[in-house]
Symmetry: C2
Subunit: 417 residues, 2 copies
């Protein structure tokens, strides 16, 4: 008998009918001989309804009271799901975050879980009950209700799975797994049977919005096997797992991309120590997050410095940069909001240097110019003109054998790089 | 500096605009130099919305989960009201029933308050904060959320006032006080400046739905001065107070009536011990509540037995009675659902016997036949044909000097009875 923690998001519990459907799925898992703990989000639309109510009263609702307000969303869902389970003759109990003692810090609206007691959950499981827990919420040491921020229900599920030493944490969503890339862009995109935590982290942070990044980190840290599945279709989903030395790793697991970036460049800044800080300092003081950073030093002793920010922050960042460029006597500042970032992700590339050159050659063959390059151990990212996004992703998807009907390339020293 | 507990019902907080209006009233009380604790209900319509959701899933929603669900209603209101107070620059904190430790028994949907800790409230008041508390809800000893039943927010307010030793508990509603009778029936009905707890209890139990009866009992038991006021109009409302020996008591404080009753009579039952039990036993076994009971013994050794039930239960009670009348060989059973109960209430009548005879004479003068009579220390009730309700109430209202322009009769031995 295994202990399974399941998480259903807002769309999965968006109507009474869908809640009944979730009850059926939960019971199926229970009747297969498992203990089941279910974590649910607010019904889709509910959180926005509550925020609208708050904004009708306060233009910038205080975080403490907003948490008190928003936490009612999941409380409604847990009650309804438990009723649906009981109607079907199954003993069930439901709990708010405070009741299962999901202890967080006091950072309202973005609290972090510090500890979970979960004794009450274990006791219910022991007597055969299904346990339903409100996602997204916790309680701080003073007893105030906190929330973990949007998508925090994933984190609740993983943290509960860790605390209960569950055998698997299943995240039900509206897609049936993690894909090699976005199927809306590449029709031949393929569902992955498994992906490593490191790869999933890179994919998540690069804009694959299936799982909240904190929940993946949490699962990796506490060694919780995580599975992404569809609420609406049957299927095994994608298992997010720990790297196995003996596992035959595909060279590349997936291609992620991000359309939300914009590029800013300072040309001909004096090449002296502290110049990067002088450029980025005012940006970070304005609370603008910087993603990629590339610096080249020219022969002439001047330096070209390029970085990317979220596209929403582009205008503001450009303003700031023009001010600071003047101070440091840089030659020129320019920007381009019409770029995209495109990344190959795979633990397989860790032991193989040929990936980068094959990537660059594939893009060059399509006439796509690379504007920036950045690499990590299991990822290579490039910035290209946004109009080449689809072309680039499709070409790489085929070149690295990710197509549904393609032969998957593995890190067996066979690739030409 | 006084400590005031204010309670605002669902209509008073039914929209964001109304919540802002309540915030203004609270701040006015605070700025007059008082400490203020506010108890609020769910926004009007919200409880029904939640019940509909539950019923979409479960035809008879289990009470434990229904309490979990319904308690979100007040949680929304406390958040919004606190935001409105903070927007106006006032420090405020809000708490659920569980957070202020309103400890109840575990009778879900109709829990009774056993104890209130309220330490957290006192500490907030000490540092000058306004405290907002969710009405209607509590927590049992296992940590499960309970509700006190409809109208329970009044009870929360009174219980908090008692626990905090508040100087006054103000119940804001959509009427501006307690009236001598229903102003929709008697246009000359007058708002009472004050009424005693005993009178209020009789008025409440007789169908004046201003205050929940349990909250009045609670206030009487713990000596909490209670005031009923309007959220929407300015005015002193009605103070519900303790009987003062020196107070000049009006003979009659008010006239209550109840249109929901139906009458059942067993004619010619054998007059032997246990006959009342034989008649009422099957009725109470069927969970039908009995209100008035009158029994007359005739010379012939047979007895006539009459009682009233809620009009909704009339058909069912008649069926049961016809069965049991046969068993006990009673002559006849008949019933009448078209009756009303009409009651004079006043602590003044305690020391005066003349009230009854004046009441009966007034009704006789209008040609109204009295079908049943029942009396308590501070109340006389009669059952009459429902078509005479308005006529009877108006005649008595004038006869006992309750009209707005009338001279109020006091218990000074002057009345003719």
């Amino acid at each position: 008998m295994a202990l399974i923690v399941q998480k259903y998001g807002g769309t999965s519990v968006g109507t009474p009918e869908r809640i009944e459907h979730v009850a059926e799925k939960v019971i199926k898992t229970k009747e297969a001989g498992n203990d089941v703990v279910v974590v649910v989000s607010a019904m889709s639309g509910e959180t926005n309804r509550l925020i609208d109510l708050a904004k009708a009263i306060h233009p910038r609702p205080p975080a403490r009271e907003l948490d008190m307000l928003l936490s009612t969303g999941e409380q409604v869902t847990i009650s309804l799901l438990t009723m649906a389970l009981e109607k079907r003759g199954h003993a069930a109990r439901c709990y708010t975050g405070a009741q299962v003692k999901i202890l967080t810090d006091s950072a309202h609206s973005k609290a972090r879980i510090q500890e979970i007691d979960a004794k009450v959950v274990s006791e219910d499981l022991k007597v055969g009950r299904i346990v339903v827990v409100a996602g997204f919420q916790g309680v701080d040491s003073t007893g105030a209700i906190t929330t973990l921020g949007r998508g925090g229900s994933d984190t609740t599920a993983v943290a509960l799975a860790a605390a209960l030493k569950a055998d698997e944490c299943q995240i039900y969503t509206d897609v049936d797994g993690v894909y090699t890339t976005d199927p809306r862009v590449v029709s031949k995109a393929r569902r992955l049977e498994r992906i490593t935590f490191e790869e999933m982290l890179e994919m998540a942070s690069l804009g694959s919005k299936i799982l909240q990044i904190r929940s993946v980190e949490f699962a990796g840290k506490y060694h919780v096997p995580l599975r992404v599945l569809s609420t609406f279709e049957e299927g095994p989903g994608t298992l997010i797992t720990f790297e196995d030395e003996n596992m035959e790793e595909p060279l590349i697991s997936g291609i992620a991309f991000n359309r939300d970036e914009a590029k800013l460049t300072v040309l001909g800044a004096p090449d002296r120590p502290g110049i990067a800080g002088a450029i980025l300092g005012p940006i970070s003081e304005a609370n603008i997050e910087v993603d990629m950073i590339v610096q080249n030093v020219s022969q002439s002793g001047a330096t070209d410095f390029t970085f990317t920010v979220h596209r929403n922050e582009y205008e503001r960042a450009l303003d700031i940069l023009q001010g600071s460029a003047k101070d440091m006597e840089a030659k020129e500042v320019y920007g381009d909001p019409k770029i995209v970032k495109l990344s190959l992700v795979g633990v397989g590339m860790r032991s193989h240097a040929g990936v980068a050159s094959r990537m660059f050659k594939t893009l060059a063959d399509e006439g796509i110019n690379i504007q920036m390059i950045s690499t990590s151990e299991i990822k290579i990212s490039v910035v290209i003109d946004e109009k080449y996004l689809e072309l680039g992703v499709r070409a790489l998807h085929t070149a690295f054998g990710l197509d549904e009907d393609g032969t998957q390339l593995r890190d067996e020293g066979k690739d030409a790089g």
